[in-house]
Symmetry: C2
Subunit: 411 residues, 2 copies
C-alpha cells in the first residue's frame, strides 16, 4: 500500500469548519488505498497570539522557553484534526514531534532535523490508523522541545517522506501550485506542472513564497517528489522533482530557458560613500555585518576617484535599522564620508535550468528591461538565475515584460 | 538547602500581570535559601476554551486526543512563568509532565500517577535553577500524554513533594486557607491553623472546595505537609498534616470535637416509591446505577405497608438526568409505582477527629438543627463526620447554627 505524506498549513486548520474539510480530504486519500501521514501547522494566528503572550511577560524571551510555548500550537492542531477524523469514521492518532521521533539539534527556534526515527509512525500505520504529526517541532538530545523556524512544517513533512520513503509529499496551500510568476501581478501567469529542485530553490530564494528553501533541499537530497497543490480544489498542482525525472516526462525541458520570473520586495540598497580604496576595507564592512547576523546579497564596488570609491550592497529591508547602526560605527573607523540607503528598490529574477545550455538568456533580460524603460541598478547571477535590482515603481512593468519575453504565459 | 514545592492554580497565572506576581513570589522563596519546584495549572479559562474547540469538531471527543489537547494549557503556563522569572533575574527551566518524569497509568482524562522519576528535576535544581513543572499531566507506558482529572495540579504538586521528600508542599489559592466554614455564608468563619489529613479528606468529600481528595490522600500516604495559603498575601494559611504532628503543636486537639462545618449543593434526593419488599430489590437498583457510573451517597429504606416500601437515596445533581433514565427502566422491571426526585436539597456536614473520643457530637447536631427549625431528611455518619440532608432554603440558617453551637467562630 503506497504511503503518502500530506501537509496542511495553519490557514487550512484555522477553525472547526476548515479542520473538518481537511479531515475529509485526508479520509478520501486513505480510502483510495493509501497509508496516510498528515503533518499540520498551528491553527491560524495561534503562533502570533503565543508570541504576544510571551511579549507580555518578557522583553527578551528565552529561546528554549519560546519553543516550549510555540510547540503547543501544533499540538492543538493535531489533537483537533485527529478528533475530527475519528468523528467522520476513520481511526487516527496524533503524535507530537517528539513522539513521532523527529530528532533535532540543540539550536532553539530554528533547529535542524538531525534524524527521524519513524518506528512509532510505522506502528500506528500498521494498525490502519491515519497518523497526524505536529509540524515545526522536534526533540533534542536533552529531551528539550525545539522548533524548526519558518517553514518548519514543510520541513517536517518532507523529512518524514524521506525517512519513510513515501512516494510523494503533498504540500497543501492556498494557491494551485507554483506559477511562472505572481498571478496577482501578471494575469496570464501559468501554473508550472514540473519544476526541478534547483529551480524551486532559486525561486524560493528570490521571492517565490510557496515553500522555504530548507525543505526543498531535503527533498532534493533524499529524492522526495513534492507535490504543491491546493487545499481547496482537487486539481493537480506542481511537482517539484529531479531534473532527470522531469526530462523523462518533459523531453523539451532544456528548450525552456526560463521557468519563472520572481521578485522580492524585502530589499534595500545601502551605499557607503567615499571609502578609502585600500585592501581590507570591504572585508571590514562585510565582516561586521555578518557578525551582526545580517545577510548581504548583491555587492557593487565602484571606483569614483583615484583614491576613493563607493561600495553598494543590498540587505533585507527588515534588517535596515540594524545594518545602519553597524555601518555608522564602521564609517567612522573607515573614514568614509556617509551612508545612504534606498528602500524603494526591488529585486526581479529569472530562474531556469535551461540557462546552462542557452547562451544569451541574461542579455535578453537586460535588453527586455531596457526596452521597457526599466533602469537596472545592480546585477547578480548564478548558474540558473539572473537577478536585477530595479526601482520599486518599475516592478509590475518589468515582471510583465520578462514574462512575455520568455513566453511564459498561457496561450 | 530545603526544597519547597509551590503550586499555583489557573487563576494565579491568568494574565501577564498575575504571572509576573507569581514569578516574584517564587523568586523571593528562592532567595530565602530554598530550592524551589513550582507546579502550575493552565492559565485562567484556557482549559474551557480548549474543550470548546474540541466540541467544534466532534460530539464525542476521543479521550487520548482530549489529553493531547488539554495538556497544551499547562505547557503555555510553564513557558510563560519561566520566561517571567528569567526576565526578573533568576534562572529557571520549564518541564512538561513527561519531561519531569510524572508517569501515569493508561487511563485518559483522569489518570493516576504510578511513579515519579525526579532525576531531571534534581539535575536542574543542582544547577541552581527554579524548576517549573506542568501540573495535571503525565506520560504513560505508551509514551502518550495523559491528564490527571480535576484537581490534577494539586496532585502533581503533592506527588512531587513526596518523591523529592520536600519539606513542604505549598498550595497557593485565592483564599487565605481552610476555614471552619464558608466565610461567604458565615461572617465569623475562622481560618484553621492545622487540620489533619483525615479531617481535610472528609471536608473535601463533603463540599469544601479548597483541595481535591486525591492529593490529600497522597499527602497522607507519604507524610507531606501541605500548606494551603493565599497567592495574594504573605499570611500563614492552613497546614494539612498528620494528627500526631498536630497534637504536638496543639495539645488540645482532642478537646475540639468539630473542626469545620461544610455543605454540598450538588445533591439531589431520589425516591423509588412502592417497591416490592423482597430480597435483591435494592441490590438491583444500586447495581444498575453503579454500572452507569453513578455514585450513590446516602440511602434510606422506609417500610410503608406490609409488602411495599420506598427507597430514597442521594446522587450528584449533575447525574440526575442519567440516574432518572436508568431508574425508569429499573422501575418497570421491579414493578415500582413511581420515581420522584427533589433537587432543592443540600448536604450539611460536621467534621472532626475529636468525635472519636467525644460522645454526643451527633446528638448535638440534631438538636441544634431542630432548634433552628431545620428539618433533617436523611443522615449518614462516618467515624469523624456526620452529614444531614436538609432543604436548600434552610442552608444558611443550618450552617450558622452549627458553626455557633460548636464554637467555631472568631471571638
Amino acid at each position: 500500500m503506497p504511503l503518502v505524506v500530506m501537509k496542511f498549513g495553519g490557514s487550512s486548520v484555522a477553525d472547526a469548519e476548515k479542520i473538518k474539510r481537511v479531515a475529509g480530504r485526508v479520509i478520501s486519500k486513505k480510502r483510495k488505498g493509501n497509508k496516510v501521514v498528515v503533518v499540520v501547522s498551528a491553527p491560524g494566528d495561534m503562533t502570533d497570539d503565543l508570541v504576544a503572550l510571551a511579549e507580555g511577560v518578557t522583553t527578551d524571551p528565552d529561546e528554549r522557553e519560546m519553543d516550549m510555548l510555540l510547540a503547543t500550537g501544533e499540538q492543538v492542531s493535531i489533537a483537533l484534526l485527529s478528533m475530527a477524523i475519528k468523528e467522520m469514521g476513520e481511526d487516527a492518532i496524533s503524535l507530537t514531534g517528539p513522539q513521532a521521533g523527529i530528532y533535532a539539534d540543540k539550536t532553539h527556534t530554528r533547529a535542524r532535523i538531525v534524524r527521524i526515527a519513524p518506528a512509532k509512525i510505522y506502528q500506528e500505520l500498521a494498525k490502519g490508523k491515519i497518523v497526524i504529526v505536529a509540524g515545526f517541532q522536534g526533540i533534542n538530545r536533552n529531551l528539550d522541545i525545539t522548533t524548526l523556524g519558518r517553514g518548519g512544517s514543510d520541513l517536517t513533512a518532507v523529512a518524514i517522506a524521506a525517512a519513510t520513503k513515501a512516494g510523494t509529499c503533498e504540500i497543501y496551500t492556498d494557491v494551485e501550485g507554483v506559477y511562472t510568476t505572481d498571478p496577482r501581478l501578471v494575469k496570464n501567469a501559468k501554473k508550472i506542472d514540473y519544476i526541478s529542485y534547483e529551480e524551486m530553490l532559486e525561486m524560493a530564494g528570490t521571492g517565490a513564497q510557496v515553500m522555504q528553501g530548507r525543505s526543498i533541499e531535503v527533498g532534493k537530497k533524499y529524492g522526495v517528489d513534492i507535490h504543491v497543490c491546493s487545499t481547496f480544489s482537487e486539481n493537480t498542482g506542481t511537482f517539484i522533482t529531479s531534473e532527470e525525472k522531469i526530462r523523462s516526462r518533459r523531453p523539451t525541458m532544456e528548450k525552456v530557458a526560463v521557468a519563472g520570473v520572481t521578485y522580492d520586495k524585502n530589499q534595500v540598497k545601502l551605499s557607503v560613500i567615499d571609502v578609502r580604496d585600500k585592501p581590507g576595507v570591504a572585508a571590514r564592512i562585510f565582516g561586521r555585518l555578518a557578525k551582526g547576523g545580517i545577510n548581504v546579497d548583491m555587492i557593487i564596488q565602484s571606483a569614483a576617484t583615484e583614491r576613493h570609491n563607493d561600495i553598494s550592497f543590498t540587505v533585507a529591508r527588515t534588517d535596515l535599522k540594524k545594518a545602519l547602526g553597524i555601518l555608522e560605527k564602521a564609517r567612522r573607523a573607515l573614514g568614509a564620508k556617509s551612508i545612504i540607503y534606498d528602500d524603494k528598490v526591488v529585486k526581479v529574477s529569472i530562474v531556469g535550468v535551461g540557462m546552462r545550455s542557452h547562451p544569451g538568456v541574461a542579455a535578453k533580460m537586460f535588453a527586455t528591461l531596457a526596452k521597457a524603460k526599466v533602469n537596472i541598478e545592480m546585477i547578480s547571477t548564478s548558474e540558473i538565475k539572473v537577478s536585477c535590482i530595479i526601482k520599486e515603481h518599475d516592478l509590475q512593468r518589468a515582471v510583465a515584460a520578462l514574462h512575455r519575453a520568455y513566453k511564459l504565459g498561457d496561450k
